[in-house]
């Protein structure tokens, strides 16, 4: 540590402050762990997702076959895929339970209004990741879920028709939609989610955890 301390004076203190940060005793309750558990689920998604991306191919001809290969041929492929599947579901559940905790302990009130808003975006982003990921294996369930999603978006007033075309990349569900969802699922949504998480955590650090009811 002294080698680093010599070059970056104060870094040891900062690391200590992060690692040994004190929290009030009322947060020693599992419901206060739900946000952190959501973060862990997200980290599992990032890690397993990187591995899945090594073999996955986002084209109509190859998507399904590449997922079959991951499941049945790649060593530990079935486990990596299952982890990605279950942690995705868990992330949504945990995120929602965390939101309930925040709601029922009144933690969204002044001065934490904006962190509640950031949290709402995080919930929407999590659901966006789940929805775009669902199309990628390009099996029957994926295809029809995406048809339903696009049709639902298309039924919105005013922006509906254009939104549907934007989602589908054309006038119906095709490989264009697969490309779009692939880009959203692997690049756009994770990047935005990470930005919102960083903002979420900075706000928690600055404002501290809310007082007990």
């Amino acid at each position: 540590m002294s080698w680093m301390e010599e070059r970056f004076p104060g870094i040891g203190h900062a690391a200590k402050e992060i690692a040994e940060h004190k929290v009030p005793s009322h947060t020693l309750n599992p419901i206060y762990c739900l946000g952190g558990l959501t973060l862990i689920a997200f980290l599992v998604q990032v890690l397993t997702g990187i591995f899945l991306a090594v073999y996955y191919k986002p084209t109509v001809a190859e998507a399904y076959a590449s997922v079959q290969m991951i499941t049945y041929e790649v060593r530990f492929g079935a486990i990596v895929r299952s982890l990605h599947h279950w942690a995705a579901n868990l992330m949504i559940v945990l995120c929602f339970l965390h939101m309930l905790r925040v709601y029922y302990t009144g933690a969204f009130k002044k001065p934490r209004e904006l962190n509640w808003v950031a949290g709402c975006f995080l919930l929407l982003l999590s659901m966006g990741l789940a929805f775009t990921g669902y199309l990628l294996p390009y099996e029957q369930l994926s295809y029809w879920a995406s048809v339903i999603g696009a049709e639902t978006a298309g039924s919105l007033p005013v922006i509906g028709p254009d939104l549907k075309i934007m989602m589908q990349g054309g006038i119906k569900v095709t490989g264009e939609m697969l490309s779009r969802f692939y880009v959203l699922h692997l690049m756009v949504l994770p990047a935005i989610t990470i930005l919102f998480m960083v903002a979420h955590f900075i706000m928690i650090r600055v404002q501290g955890i809310s007082d007990p009811m």
Binding site: M166, I171, K172
Partner: protein, 152 residues
């Protein structure tokens, strides 16, 4: 009375710079939207499609077909006339069921919420608010039936 607040040189120049700055940032944003919106070649209406021949279908009989990846129905009204419409229910989009065989005095039934349509595709009962959307139909000289998206 002079109650105008003096604007400092710094503020004034800031405002003057803000306008081109918004333009410089906004233009690529519009371009990005244009980029992501699919090009015209991906927005072409589906091509007309031959779905059968007039001699394959007697009066009040029907042919089921796929158009643009969605189910449709053709019904022969009389010697000369046929109608074709989508089977996507105008309520919430389920696929409407078609009875087998001769459709005279029969009804099409939507399994989701009990919508009813007559064989011409008109909504006659249940929640559907509109008739089933019609396709364009053309009969070639040799009797081939060609379906196209209706230009409303």
């Amino acid at each position: 009375m002079d109650n105008t607040t003096p604007v400092s040189r710094r503020k004034f120049l800031g405002a003057v710079l803000a306008i081109p700055a918004i333009g410089a940032l906004g233009t690529p944003l519009v371009a990005a939207g244009q980029f992501v919106y699919p090009p015209d070649s991906l927005l072409q209406p589906p091509k007309p499609k031959k779905i059968g021949n007039l001699k394959d279908v007697n009066v009040w009989e029907s042919i089921k077909f796929d158009f643009n990846d969605a189910p449709g129905l053709l019904v022969r009204k009389d010697e000369k006339e046929v109608v074709a419409y989508s089977l996507k229910c105008t309520h919430l989009g389920c696929t409407v069921e078609v009875p087998k065989g001769n459709l005279k005095d029969k009804q099409l039934f939507c399994p989701c919420h009990g919508g009813q349509f007559d064989p011409m595709g008109n909504n006659v009962g249940g929640p559907p608010p509109k008739p089933l959307p019609a396709f364009g139909v053309e009969i070639a000289d040799n009797g081939d039936i060609i379906i196209s998206e209706k230009l409303a």
